[in-house]
């Protein structure tokens, strides 16, 4: 069972803050953790500013896309507002050789993989189902069927094992896969099956669960009777709970999990406790199922605010923040302009790439439609 804590935020019974890995408080103060602090000690001020820039620009893209949907330029948009630290912190822990398997709200993750965020506009403007070349970025496409890709990541990790790219001790060779999914996905059978396959195979895969508290309108309590990070333990998978709004802690725990995976130590389950500050998608109305008080509580835990407080405390000049704001303004303008250039693909695209090799039924239907449409052109001329 779950009970409200002092802030009115639900927390599983039996949980204490001791279970939560946190390296940066909501007021921007560092917290020392014996195991995890050393994993972020090497980040100098420029690196910390880099993480803040990542989160800032991703948030700007997200707000711009949300606005574009409201203006009718996109059919739908899944906002990532509030989850930037979980995504940037974990994503920046990956090497270029690691492979990410995102769900459909991982704007920050794909940013860390070097994917042009504008690719996502193609998906939600109805021009493309995918948007980018997965192999060019070691970043799989968004997966919309909840939890399916946890198995793809596990299978990919089994491929890494068979390639001999695990446990060699060579950082240029060892690699791992990371599966991103939400709290709702933990209720899906595929996630449980992925944990089973990963566990019995010691697959080099990290399961990064962003518990953003809500699966559309259903709170985490409707998905699980136990804290989500306990899920991994039943499968024999080391599991950890981290403050998902703390970019440093997310970076540290993912870094540790990746290190274990690449050394041959098998999978890790990470529950990043965060909050989806916006709607599930632009078609959703969160005022029907959650309170203003709850939203306000989490707003005080904003992942960007605490990082800014830290940067100011550690001496980042006002020019840095002003420069970033100007960069984001220009970024936003570019996004708006780009979105308007995305046109419908040629109609033949319907038939392209259904199969890797020619398939006679597709060929037949493509020929029929082409001739049918040509008939209209002849009539017009």
């Amino acid at each position: 069972m779950f009970t409200p804590d002092v802030d009115g935020v639900t927390t599983p019974v039996g949980e204490t803050d001791d279970d939560l890995i946190q390296l940066l408080t909501p007021t921007g103060e560092r917290v020392h953790h014996e195991s995890y602090s050393p994993r972020v000690d090497h980040l100098d001020r420029a690196a910390l500013e880099g993480l803040y820039r990542d989160m800032y620009l991703v948030r700007r893209f997200d707000s711009e896309a949300t606005s574009l949907q409201r203006h009718g330029e996109l059919g739908l948009w899944p906002p990532s507002l509030g989850q930037e630290a979980a995504q940037i912190g974990s994503g920046r822990a990956m090497s270029s050789r690691d492979y990410a398997f995102p769900s459909y709200r991982e704007l920050g993750v794909i940013w860390t993989r070097g994917v042009d965020l504008r690719s996502t506009l193609h998906i939600f403007r109805g021009e493309d189902h995918g948007g980018w070349d997965p192999n060019a970025h070691n970043c799989h496409l968004y997966t919309l069927v909840i939890g399916s890709h946890a198995l793809h990541a596990t299978g990919y990790a089994m491929g890494i094992q068979r390639d001999g790219d695990v446990g060699t001790g060579d950082p240029g060779r060892d690699r791992a896969a990371v599966a991103y999914f939400g709290d709702g996905a933990t209720a899906q059978g595929d996630v449980s099956e992925a944990l089973t396959f990963a566990s019995v195979n010691d697959a080099p895969v990290v399961f990064f669960c962003q518990n953003n508290q809500w699966a559309i309108s259903e709170p985490t309590q409707r998905q699980s009777r136990v804290p989500l990070y306990h899920r991994g333990r039943g499968f024999g998978v080391p599991s950890v709970r981290v403050d998902g709004n703390d970019v440093l802690a997310c970076h540290a725990v993912t870094s540790e999990a990746l290190e274990r995976a690449k050394a041959g130590g098998g999978p890790t389950f990470i529950e990043a406790v965060t909050y989806r500050m916006g709607a599930h998608t632009t078609s959703d109305d969160p005022t029907r199922y959650r309170s203003r008080a709850e939203e306000e509580t989490w707003r005080r835990r904003d992942p960007l605010d605490r990082m800014r407080l830290l940067l100011e405390r550690e001496g980042s000049p006002s020019e840095f923040f002003a420069g970033l704001e100007a960069e984001a303004e220009q970024f936003g303008a570019e996004i708006r302009e780009y979105c308007h250039t995305i046109a419908a693909p040629p109609v033949e695209r319907i038939f392209d790439d259904v199969y890797a090799t020619e398939q006679s039924q597709i060929t037949r239907e493509r020929t029929w439609l082409t001739e049918y449409l040509a008939g209209f052109e002849e009539v017009a001329s």
Partner: protein, 352 residues
């Protein structure tokens, strides 16, 4: 041929390395085809429940783990969605997984992975992600099994674009087609007629290497004329081809000449081969074990009516399963398209 001689030849087949023609069961032919594919390409691997030391419940993977190791012949957890889902990931990592689903009726936990992920990944990525996964499914009835062990779900998969759905009817075809399926860059549903696993026939072990890369393969698998005839076309696939051939032999004694087409592929269907035959015979009966309602026969009947309207002397008839769950074993002989029902349909179209 004496029993002793058959036994000796089977033992030769067990070696799997020799060429020439051998008399093999359909199950053994698939086993040798898998072996040949694994020898040809080190990225080919097998995954499934009980496929290792046991060799699968039908022994189709017998001896393969011993020779190729447990990394290439993987005994998986009992989780069908997990088998297919991880196979997709392995394919994305450059491997060519061949999954075994233990029985037809147990494929449904994997249905989501097959239809929403496997079938669509190439399309979704606009060709950037290839997923050459083969899913082997023992299917069909006639072995006196309990519930969920005798189903024919092929139409459900043929209805999903992005999958190729093929089924061999003979040991010779099984040996070649499993290798074609594995060589194909597209996902392939490979339905194995379990009632025919023990049927024996000659298998040419030398032709296969050319056929794997030959015309129509690994792309479209073409239909074949299993028996020529002039009065009625019987189109069948998988386990029903044998039934159709028996019906043709029986009808011949009554003076009716039946041409049997072995479709071999349900997606795509080789309509041209069926239409060619119907233009000569003027009559068509489609035979399959799956329910006729919205089955492959319905599609064939519609397409042939469209293409061969002026050649047809009679309506296209279908002989298949009823729109019920697969019945208990004591009643399956009445459910299956048996010889009497096929010949009854032949008589009906001949009366027009």
């Amino acid at each position: 041929m004496s029993e002793r001689a058959v036994s000796d030849q089977d033992r030769q087949g067990d070696q799997g390395q020799q060429g020439g023609t051998q008399r093999l069961t359909l199950g053994k032919a698939i086993n040798l085809g898998l072996r040949r594919a694994m020898e040809r390409d080190p990225k080919v691997m097998l995954m499934g429940e009980d496929i290792g030391p046991l060799g699968g419940v039908f022994r189709v993977t017998d001896g393969l783990q011993k020779d190729f190791g447990s990394d290439r012949v993987v005994d998986t957890p009992l989780a069908e969605s997990g088998i297919v889902g991880t196979a997709i990931g392995l394919a994305l990592a450059g491997y060519r997984p061949v999954c075994e689903i233990q029985f037809d009726g147990f494929i449904f936990p994997a249905y989501d992975q097959i239809t929403t992920q496997l079938a669509k990944m190439h399309y979704r990525s606009r060709g950037k992600s290839q997923v050459p996964v083969v899913i082997r499914v023992p299917y069909g009835g006639g072995i006196g099994a309990v519930e969920h062990h005798s189903e024919s779900p092929e139409a459900l998969f043929a209805h999903t674009a992005g999958l190729r759905v093929i089924t061999p009817a003979t040991p010779a075809d099984a040996f070649v087609m499993i290798q074609q399926a594995i060589a194909c860059p597209d996902p392939v549903m490979f339905f194995e007629p379990k009632a025919r696993y023990w049927d024996k026939a000659e298998v040419d072990l030398t032709a296969a290497d050319e056929l794997v890369g030959g015309p129509g393969a690994p792309g479209d698998v073409r239909a074949t004329v299993a028996r020529p005839g002039t009065d009625v076309t019987l189109a069948a696939y998988g386990p029903s081809v044998t039934t159709a051939l028996r019906a043709a032999a029986a009808a011949e004694s009554e003076g009716t000449s039946i041409e049997v087409i072995d479709l071999r592929s349900i997606s795509p269907i080789d309509f041209a081969a069926v239409a060619d035959s119907v233009r000569r015979t003027g009559r068509l009966v489609v035979v399959h074990e799956a329910a006729t309602f919205l089955g492959a026969g319905a599609e064939i009947a519609a397409r042939i009516s469209e293409e061969c309207f002026y050649h047809l002397e009679a309506p296209v008839l279908r002989v298949g399963g009823f729109h019920t769950p697969y019945p208990v074993a004591k009643l399956e002989e009445e459910y299956l398209p048996n010889l009497d029902r096929v010949l009854h349909a032949v008589d009906t179209v001949m009366q027009h």
